[in-house]
Symmetry: none
């Protein structure tokens, strides 16, 4: 009966104060944490605390429209928080941020302040069509996939194919092919760069090297 790692996320929900380094915030309905094995340079998880819902498959849990709406709202908040963190991390490298900073530093500053980079766009929120961890969790993750912990094809394709289902796509229509992800073989697909579309076939290490280069350019936008 197995207590194995697949149930480890439950501990954050039951006992968030035991993980001060990992828990970003908590409230009555959610706990937000840092993913322990991040698949991008920033990777957070939103964990609903409802005892019933948290043991359901996300597709099942999100059939409850009211619950789905609460999750979307909370994920939106966490996404903004994550965007702020991206700004702190990469703002100094970003061309768009430099333009804004230059305007701020100008004497006198211009009437219209450039907006700076929209980091929210660089973060995706969603679930895996077949989660491996048993407790309901929503990924809030930067698009870069620049991480040493991203170690194989399934790691990558679980975020880079329709296997990753964005929160905004819920509720799924009844004919959506993502209801039957195994048939679709999403995780077996060729490895394709999320940024330039280059196809790396089965060559994970080559993709990873390439993603390192893409990361260097992406943070500088």
């Amino acid at each position: 009966m197995g207590s194995n790692r697949r149930d480890d996320l439950g501990a954050y929900v039951r006992n968030p104060e035991s993980f001060p380094k990992d828990v970003i915030y908590q409230n009555e309905e959610f706990v937000a944490i840092r993913d322990k094995f991040p698949k991008s340079s920033l990777h957070l998880l939103l964990l609903p605390r409802d005892r019933i819902k948290m043991r359901k498959h996300p597709f099942e849990a999100f059939k409850d429209a009211e619950f789905l709406e609460k999750v979307k709202v909370e994920a939106g908040k966490l996404q903004k928080l994550a965007a702020s963190e991206l700004r702190r991390m990469y703002g100094k490298d970003s061309a768009q941020e430099k333009v804004r900073q230059a305007a701020l530093d100008a004497h006198p500053p211009p009437d219209e302040l450039p907006a700076g980079r929209d980091w929210v766009k660089e973060i995706k929120c969603g679930v895996h069509a077949v989660p491996s961890m048993n407790d309901l969790h929503i990924h809030v993750i930067a698009v870069d996939h620049y991480s040493e912990r991203m170690k194989h094809r399934k790691h990558y394709n679980s975020f880079a194919t329709p296997f990753f289902v964005p929160l905004e796509d819920f509720p799924l229509k009844s004919d959506d092919s993502r209801w039957h992800p195994e048939r679709e073989g999403y995780l077996r697909r060729d490895l394709v760069c999320w940024r330039c579309g280059r196809n790396f076939g089965n060559s994970f290490e080559k993709l990873k090297t390439h993603l390192w280069k893409e990361f260097g350019e992406w943070k500088k936008i």
Copy 2:
């Protein structure tokens, strides 16, 4: 432009006396040797010595009916010789041979002596649809595929699929699919036990373990 290993069989033909351990016999037209990397417990090669023919692809060389006939005759001789060797190797394990031996030892011996095992049936003669070694050679090989040198799928499938073309199938008809072996993907096929037909998919090591068991039973027939 190369002198590489693919030409190594030529040395046996040009200079058979240099390989006394490997050469089984020689005459004006052929040299018979032991395969240096045997893919069965007994694996011989018949090498035609004709300077022109020996540099041709077997399908091309065998278009010459007279030559083909000579090869068939010589291969038949070598096959019988190999059968004798199999009898020496496994006769003591063979049930059919034991019956014959018991009859021989009886007092008085019966009028009809049991034939003993037909070892010729356990030896196949033929060529690979796409040989890797450049000098013409005909495999004379026991069916067992019990050998440490059989190390990967292509080794096995080159003898266990239509990639192996028995001598008796020549001349090939013009519509024979073996004229175009690449298209057929013979070497990529699932691994299937020659004896019981069990399918091992891509699991070469599991097949090999199984072949060890089959060998133990096969020699006892």
